[in-house]
Amino acid sequence: MASTAPRPATCVLGQQITVRGTLTGEEDLVVEGRVEGSVSLAGHLIVAEGGVVEADIDVQSIEVHGEVRGDIVASASITIDQGAHVSGNVRAPRVIIHDGAQFQGAVEMEVELPEGLARGLSR
Amino acid sequence: MANTVIGSTIVIDGEITGDEDLVVQGTVKGRVSLRENILVEESGVLEANVETSTITINGTVTGDIQASERAELKSNCRVVGDIRAPRILIADGASFKGNVDMDG
């Protein structure tokens, strides 16, 4: 998690850029344009306001201000900001949804329930 | 100690158990089993069999009451059911129908 220290430069996919296919990488990425397909990033992904990602996403962490349609898996955290649209299933140790975000789908985090409850609940 | 309060618009249909004081302003149907004190306020309605340490009734209780210490029926209360407690106080003006058992 400490590796999210500021990198020399951040890759930005500008507003007029559309990527169709598989996007992989190992640094932080800001999407202001459009990505369709799949995204696999060992870094921090920011979907900026106006940015649209129609893809299954596998990242270390992600911050959504724009729109994501697809499943998101993050090894660290998923943040869905106010005004963001996300539809798809999300899975991460930390999922943060701010007031005013629009989300449709399932959330999967580790939930450690108290003893008795967990037993009664499991399957 | 946290006070458990069942507010006047609340209806509980089921069972209340625990070891804490209970104030009933609303309605409880079913069963109440506590080791502490119950206060039924004027607006309170208990349609339940009650087991407790002490109970003070200003409202309405329909059901059998078993108090290990004391049952107190205040004036203006309405109680229908059998009461079993070592000490039973029935105030002037209370309305009560049922059996009283003070054998402890």
Binding site: T22, S38, A42, D58, A101, V107, L117 | D13, L39
Partner: protein, 237 residues
């Protein structure tokens, strides 16, 4: 009145019901005032006001209310006509249906989310959707399905099981959209690899992130992820 010495003191201030820490309620709680659960409730809670599950509270029940605030533990479906808010330390397993959902960092949650229209955020989002100029191939389809889902969501602001199911059926629209898009993509499939030159300056970070990337690629090939969607039903035990 005067002789109340043995009775618990009446609460000050009306309109709040408290289930204390030592209390266990098994059954159904209904009402028109705020409820604070510090103890344990099993069964169902249905209120027109706010349900607050305190840090010590454990609720194994279906909750219906205007607002639901969770600091403690909830196992069961939660549906609110306004908002559901999971505070840090909250644990919730179950499905959520509400116009507004707030999950704070440090809250744990597993389940489906159906954001019904109706809250103030929905209005805000409708506005946002209107100004978003990035019209896409997929948008008409999703727009249509959203429009189709909206009336049902409106008709039953407090989502019943049936309407919640309907909500859920909206979610897979992504899947429905995907196949044609995938088919189209066959010809124009490209792979973009983002790797910054600056990375190689720091060998350590490259090595570690390289490893991470490889690990990720192995455990989740991009196309192979699709079945996970199917896994959702399994996840919702």
């Amino acid at each position: 009145m005067a002789a109340r010495q043995h009775a618990p003191s009446a609460p000050t201030g009306d309109g709040i019901t408290i289930i204390g820490e030592g209390i266990h309620v098994n059954g159904r709680i209904t009402g028109e005032e705020d409820l604070r659960v510090e103890g344990r409730v099993e069964g169902a809670i249905s209120l027109t006001e706010t349900v607050h599950v305190a840090r010590s509270g454990v609720v194994v029940a279906t909750i219906e209310a205007r607002d639901v605030v969770v600091d403690g533990v909830v196992v069961g479906n939660v549906s609110a006509t306004n908002s559901v808010s999971l505070e840090p330390g909250a644990k919730l397993v179950g499905d959520i249906s509400a116009p507004r959902l707030i999950i704070a960092d440090g809250a744990a949650f597993r389940g489906n989310v159906a954001m019904t229209e109706g809250g103030e955020s929905a209005a805000r989002n409708r506005a946002a959707g209107g100004r978003s100029k990035s019209a896409t191939r997929a948008r008409p389809a999703s727009g249509a399905s959203r429009a189709a889902s909206t009336p049902s969501a409106r008709a039953t602001p407090r989502a019943t099981a049936a309407s919640r199911k309907a909500e859920r059926s909206v979610t897979p629209r992504v899947a429905a959209i995907r196949p044609p898009k995938g088919a189209q993509n066959v010809d124009e499939e490209v792979t973009v690899v983002v790797r910054h030159a600056a990375l190689s300056e720091s060998e350590q970070s490259e090595a570690s992130s390289d490893k991470a990337a490889k690990k990720k690629a192995k455990k989740a090939p991009p196309r192979g992820r699709v079945p996970k969607r199917g896994k959702r039903s399994v996840n919702r035990r």
